[in-house]
Symmetry: C2
Subunit: 291 residues, 2 copies
């Protein structure tokens, strides 16, 4: 069994790495905060002090980090993975970052004989805990085959979209769609609320027709319950939409609906609501309409 390094033990990374330990893998872990590291060590993992050390001790290294600069630093920075990797090792980035940065890292690692995979996920912390994440993979076929047993521990709907970068592009598409669907649910619920009709009945009626979506199911219920605890923080979704809009701009693609939702998220963040769930878009709709 290959030895696995795991860097980034946050809301997503911690349950994902715990599932690997439970599946019998030997893990070497590293994270900014000590708490999750201690939890993983208690579960049977070994702690390493730097990404370099993680790479030295592992055959395959997985990262689950917040943003593009974090991944860049962990891989290419001082005491980074690149200093510890040996030819034949495999790097799997499951963070959501810019496709451009993914390709830069891919190219830097291929020079030292290390294959790189981009495999961002969807499904939230609950999907991570239950090992049922949706995983969107950009990889060569051989690298994908090697990583697949690990993906099958962490996820359920695992699709190899294409070569390096294709996973990040697909995640960008995912965030476009999720953003606009939540905005739609938020506007629908706001109109229903203003009309004084029963929001639960509206949600149920809409779930039975063409408007059905997992987001209406989950975020619709959160809005009804006035429960805006994450879930997925608005500031993280806005970060993802920045990636989307930067990528689109570089490619010459216009995304007016996505830009509008990103602006609404900017407003929520400006009001100190960035740590609330992205369903807090409903709060902004209510505020705009003086409800």
């Amino acid at each position: 069994m290959e030895k696995i390094g795991f860097i980034g033990l946050g809301l997503m990374g911690k349950p994902m790495s715990l599932n690997l330990v439970k599946a019998g893998y030997s893990l070497v872990v590293h994270s900014r905060s000590q708490g999750p590291v201690d939890e993983l060590v208690a579960a049977g993992a070994v702690a390493a002090r730097t990404p370099k050390e993680v790479a030295e001790e592992s055959d395959i290294v997985i990262t689950v980090l917040p943003d593009s600069p974090d991944v860049e630093k962990v891989v290419l920075g001082e005491n980074g993975l690149v200093a510890g990797f040996s030819a034949g090792d495999l790097f799997i980035d499951m963070s959501t970052i810019e496709p451009k940065v993914t390709l830069e890292i891919h190219s830097a690692l291929s020079e030292i004989g290390v294959d790189a995979i981009d495999a961002p996920v969807s499904g939230g912390d609950i999907g991570a805990q239950q090992g049922i994440l949706s995983i969107m993979v950009g990889a060569s076929e051989s690298a994908f085959s090697r990583a697949l047993p690990l993906f099958e521990v962490m996820g359920k709907n695992i699709v190899r979209i294409g070569e390096a970068g294709a996973g990040q592009t697909t995640k960008a598409c995912n965030q476009i769609l999720v953003a606009q669907t939540i905005q739609g649910v938020a506007e629908a619920m706001t109109l229903a609320k203003k009309c004084g009709i029963d929001l639960t009945k509206v949600r149920n009626a809409l779930l039975g027709g063409f408007a059905q979506s997992r987001i209406l199911e989950v975020h619709g219920q959160k809005i009804i319950d006035r429960n805006f605890e994450p879930g997925f923080k608005t500031e993280l979704h806005r970060k993802d939409l920045n990636i989307v809009l930067q990528t689109a701009r570089a490619l010459g693609v216009s995304l007016p609906g996505t830009a509008l939702v990103a602006e609404n998220m900017n407003a929520l963040i400006a009001q100190g609501l960035g740590k609330k769930d992205n369903s807090a878009l409903a709060l902004l709709c209510e505020q705009l309409s003086n409800i």
Copy 2:
């Protein structure tokens, strides 16, 4: 068994009325075009020359018409239903119209002892043919009980949301959500296309996660197939969004995402694409991005 009048035998009304005939109801029908009337007569229905005549011959009258003025004319206009109804009759409007007009009609009919129900639907022509429409009902409890056996022939997810008008408000919520979800699918597919990745794999990956929706399933596939035949015409969806935005404006509700999609539909109509399916929003995204 009560005698049923049915007015409006278009893309939706024809299969809905045929299902009632098949279920054993006696139908009196009326429509602008002769073709569908002949089809219904061949199936066992009786044709009437005016809405007034339909009301005279029926206990319950159902309308499935394109827009608010059509319903207003059929009910309150010359030789309208109101001239043929008797006290104790029931009126069921399954069109998508302004909640304000619904309430006007409700009030005019209640003066002559006729109960009125608003029961717009979702699920498209396929849902109408298969008798699996989602039906959103605004009605008194007694009127709802009387109409329920008919709804059960035409639909599957039948929810009484509240009193008169609540059905139309819920349909407005439905159209808000459907519009923005299609715009999201269109933008996601446009970005994926520009990146040159496999759209079918993107759709499959997204269907397995939080971005799952019936619209990604159906409209995503239509966009992949470059099949923009309706389905639901852009010009009819734009009409519904006009109702939504007028209603919202009257209530003092701001719906920025909905307004953006309505404008995109205006552009499609300006370009002569109003009779294409609403998934043609993808064509506009491509045009904006010069793809």
